[in-house]
Amino acid sequence: MTLTKKKVVKEAPKQGMLQNVMKQFDAASELINLNPNIKKILSVTNNELIIHFPVRMDNGDVEIFKGYRVQHNNALGPYKGGLRYHPTIDIDSVKALAMWMTWKTSLAGLPYGGAKGGIQMDPTKYSDSELERITRRFTYALGDNIGPEHDIPAPDVNTNAQTMAWIADTYMSTKPPAERSKNQHVVTGKPVGSGGLEGRDRATGFGVFLTIKYWAEYKNIDLKDKTFIVQGFGNVGYWASHFLQEVGAKLIGVQDAFGTIVNPNGLEVESLFNYTTSNKGSVVGFPGSEAMDKDAFFELECDICIPAALGNQITEDRASKIKAFLIAEGANGPTTVEAEKILQERGIDVIPDILCNSGGVVGSYFEWLQNRNGELWDLDEIMVKLEKRIKEVFKKVYETSKLKNLDMRSTAYIIAIERIERAYIQRGIFP
C-alpha cells in the first residue's frame, strides 16, 4: 500500500474540541445574560483526575497506563458520562466531552451533572484478559472518585457492556460484603443479566424518532409517505429508521462507512438490516438499491435528513444543496456553525443533537433508577417512560424557541444552562 496525497488545500487552523464547546457555552451565556459568577463556575471543570497505573501483561511485563476522569459540574446531581479507550484521548478532549455532558443531562431534566473519562490506549493491542485487568485496575485506582451517588461512568468509544460489568464488579468488590449489592448502579450500560436495561440498544434511535414525530405534530405534518435519508446504519440510524418506517415514512437513501445506496421507491429497513449482518456490516449491494456518489448523498431529494454517524457532515457547501425540510441530528455535532446559518436562512429546521440523541442518556438514567430502587422494568414500560420524558423535553425546547424566536439549538443550550444557574442561585455558594 502506498500513501497518496489526494489534495492539498489551504485552510484556517482547526479549533480543538474544547474551544468549540466553550464557544457554544459563551454564545448561550450571552443570550441569557448568565450571572457572571455562575459563568465563572461553569467555565471550568470541578475535578480533573489523571491516573497512572500499572498492569501486568500476559507475557509477564508490566505496562503503565494513563487514565482520565474529568468531572465538570454536579450542581444538579452525580456526575454522569462515558469512559472511552483510545490512543488519542487527552485531557482537553475529555474536558470538552465532560462539559458537553453537563448540558445534555441538564436539558434532559435528569438529576445528573457531567463527566467523561477514559484510558489512553489502543484496545486492539491487548488480549481480553489484559483488557479486563486494565479495566479493573483503573477502577481500583479511581476508587471513590466514582460511585453510584457521586460519578457514574457508562460505555463510550471502545468500551461496552462487558467493560461496565467489570467496573461494577471491581467497585462492588472493594466495599464491605453487606454494601456490595447496593453499589450496582456505579455504572450504567451493563449487560441485561447484570442490572442492565432492556432495550438500551434502541433508546437513542427511538429518541431520534420521537423528536421527529413531535416536531411533525407541532408542524401538523403527517409522517406517512414522507421520505428520509440516514447517514450511519449503526444502532442510532437503524433504530430511528425502524420506528419511522413503522409510522409509514420511507427510507430512500443510506450512507455507511462502505458506501452510499439509494432507492427512490424505498429501502425496506428490516431487510436492509438483515442484509448488513450477512454482508460484513455494509449496506452496499442491497438488492433493489443503486450505488451513488458519496458526496451527493446530502443533496438527495427527501423530506427528512438524519445524520446519525459523525460530526461536521453538514457543511456550508452541503447546507445550500440540502432538499430536506428537517434535519434530525442523531450524531453529535453533525452540523457546522456556518452551515446552520444557511439552513436557518433557507427555513430548514434542525433538531439539535443535544435534544435529538438524548434518548441514550435518558435510558442510562432509567437503568440507574431501576438498580437504585431494586426494580426490574420490562421493555414496554421503559419505552413508555422514555416517550414521556422525550416528549416533555421536546415540548419545552420547541415552545421556548417559538416564544423567544430562537432556533432550537440555542434554546436547548439556554434551557440547559438556566437549569444549572437556578440551582446555584437557590443554593448559594458555600461558605
Binding site: 497518496t4 489526494k6 450511519g232
Partner: protein
C-alpha cells in the same frame, strides 16, 4: 497541530476506505467506529507523520490508501 489529533479514525477498521467523511482528522464521535482487528500501528503512524508534516505547512490533508 497534529492532523489526527483526537480523531477516532486512527484506530478504525474503516479508515482505509471510509466514505462518510473526507476529513479524518478530528472525529471524536462516530457510530460506525470499529476497532480494527488487524490495526497496523506502524502503518497508522506513517499516515500520521505524513499528515502532520503537511499540516505543519498549513495544508489540509486527505489521505487515501
Amino acid at each position: 497541530m497534529k492532523t489526527l489529533e483526537n480523531s477516532l479514525c486512527a484506530s478504525c477498521e474503516h479508515l482505509a476506505y471510509c466514505c462518510l467523511t473526507n476529513d479524518k482528522s478530528s472525529i471524536w464521535s462516530c457510530s460506525e467506529h470499529e476497532v480494527s482487528a488487524d490495526y497496523d500501528q506502524e502503518f497508522q503512524q506513517k499516515i500520521i507523520n505524513e499528515a502532520n508534516s503537511l499540516s505543519a505547512s498549513g495544508s489540509k490533508v486527505e489521505v487515501l490508501l
